[in-house]
């Protein structure tokens, strides 16, 4: 007897990604560059987040042709984004055989109240979070992997740092807290009690947690690993840089050797210009993608 679509294989797939870099790509050519650089997976999109910002309007699931093209081009796993709460986009991606779905705030939400019930699907999901309440709600819905949100498409690491520190500080709080205080914390965080119990028993989150939203340099990627991320997502940071091949390779190596500073020095030399950044504090509130998600 075999069982598919169970937590062990959904969460296990993310465990195999640990220490790795997942890169946004918009076509087969970029996917091959990512794979050759050592990416552990690619996220197939119609536009990278910085271009989604520029284009404005409604951002939706990509044309399935793009996912097909990328799936045919590489042997590493292929992920794709569906809008928050868009049951049909997610089912379409599942039926195509995409390896992981990102229910993502980078796209325009389809539902402003409810996320997908991800435990209903056979395909695993990754979701964004800014704090433990959000992380635990997504786990409660069946997410098999998390990523801290950061602020996508900005090339500015500040929000990614804020969110990862916040989640990890709250995990430490749960782990060290007496059990009789957990229910009130669950109420205050808006977190499912059972998920907090699991975190306390394990001493950590029950799923892998990557960092995302603002990684633009090898040092940025290493910083997120230093702060306790299990790996990194790089969106616009690779293919909006001056030399995507060099940036991709350097970010992969820096993520693995994040405490080897001599190596990061070498990796950072003569890379060319990183993507142009945006100061998040000057950004109008309604343009902040991290505010999407409930």
């Amino acid at each position: 007897m075999i069982q598919t679509g169970v937590d062990a294989v959904k969460r296990g797939m993310a465990q195999m990604q640990k220490g790795g870099v997942i890169m946004d790509v918009i076509n087969a050519e970029q996917a091959k560059i990512a794979e050759a650089a050592g990416a552990t997976a690619v996220m197939a999109l119609e536009r990278v987040p910085s271009d989604i910002r520029k284009a404005g309007g409604v951002a939706r699931m990509a044309d399935p042709r793009i996912m097909e093209e990328v799936m045919n081009a590489v042997s590493i796993p292929v992920m794709a984004k569906a809008r928050i709460g868009h049951i049909v986009e997610a089912r379409v991606l599942e039926s195509m055989g995409v390896d992981y779905i990102d229910e993502s705030e980078v796209l325009t939400p389809a539902d402003e109240e409810y996320h997908l019930l991800k435990s209903d699907f056979s395909v695993p999901f990754v979701c964004g979070c800014r704090d433990l309440g959000e992380a635990a709600r997504r786990i409660g819905e069946g997410a098999a992997m998390l990523r801290t949100k950061g602020e996508p498409g900005t090339g500015n690491i500040v929000e990614a740092v804020r969110h990862l520190r916040q989640v990890n500080a709250q995990v430490r709080q749960v782990v060290s807290m007496p059990k009789d205080e957990l229910m009130t914390l669950a109420k205050n965080l808006g977190a499912p009690f059972e998920v907090l119990l699991q975190i306390q028993a394990l001493g950590r989150l029950p799923v892998v947690n990557f960092a995302a939203g603002g990684v633009a340099t090898p040092a940025d990627a290493a910083l997120m690993m230093e702060l306790g991320a299990d790996g990194v997502f790089v969106g616009s940071g690779i293919f909006k840089s001056e030399n995507p091949e060099k940036f991709a390779k350097a970010i992969v190596q820096a993520t693995t050797h994040y405490q080897d500073y001599a190596r990061i020095t070498e990796l950072s030399k003569e890379l060319g210009a990183p993507m142009k950044g945006i100061d998040v504090t000057s950004m109008p509130f309604e343009q902040r993608m991290q505010e999407r998600g409930w």
Binding site: V9, M16, K18, G19, G20, G38, T40, P77, Q253
Partner: protein
């Protein structure tokens, strides 16, 4: 016994925990110099393509080949692919174990599964994630488990290769098997060293 886990990418902590659970010391290995002090090495599950690039980036390929010629190595999933002498539709990497493997041979992630295997009469719960399988074995290679007619666990002398993820379950049978191989190899090395003296 001191057993390393190649810590460039993948389920490193899970393998280290399994090694400690069977009573050996686990060491995360990121450089060739760290191989010296080890009695055995685990090539963990992860993404084999990414690990190839990272092994090249860390200048470790030759050191890993030398290690695998002398001391026990256990490859799980991606590690199995790195260890195989031949890889279908791809170039071999460390190439030490006398087997041929096919990558992603059970389908995409949606087809990943968990099942119970019979390993030499012991029931072992096995997690298969975008798993490879062993399509052919050379002379002297022992087939230790099959699933659906496909070889998923085999031993070639001091080399052990596994298509599934024993590190993701609580059953430590496969790690126990590897620890026995490590102990046997260490005592054989000690005996030959004493003979020389």
């Amino acid at each position: 016994m001191k057993i390393g886990v190649l810590a460039l990418q993948g389920a490193v902590a899970e393998h280290a925990a399994a090694i400690e659970a069977v009573g050996a010391e686990a060491v995360a290995v990121k450089t060739a110099a760290q191989l010296e002090a080890l009695d055995g090495l685990v090539l963990p599950g992860g993404e084999s393509t990414a690990m190839r690039r990272l092994i090249a980036g860390a200048n470790m390929l030759e050191a890993l080949q030398v290690f695998a010629a002398q001391k026990p190595v256990f490859g799980t999933c991606a590690g199995l692919i790195l260890l195989a002498r031949d890889v279908e539709n791809d170039a071999p990497h460390i190439g030490a174990m006398n087997i041929t493997v096919a990558r992603n041979s059970f389908g995409r992630q949606i087809d990943s599964f968990i099942t119970d295997l019979d390993v030499q009469g012991t029931k072992v719960s096995a997690v298969f994630i975008r798993a490879p399988h062993i399509t052919a074995v050379g002379d002297g290679v022992e087939v230790l488990a099959t699933f659906d007619g496909r070889i998923v666990l085999a031993r070639d002398g001091h080399l052990l290769g596994c298509a599934f993820h024993p590190e993701l379950t609580e059953n430590r049978y496969v790690f126990g098997l590897f620890l026995e191989m490590v102990k046997k190899s260490a005592s054989a090395r000690l005996a030959s060293h004493e003979n020389v003296l």
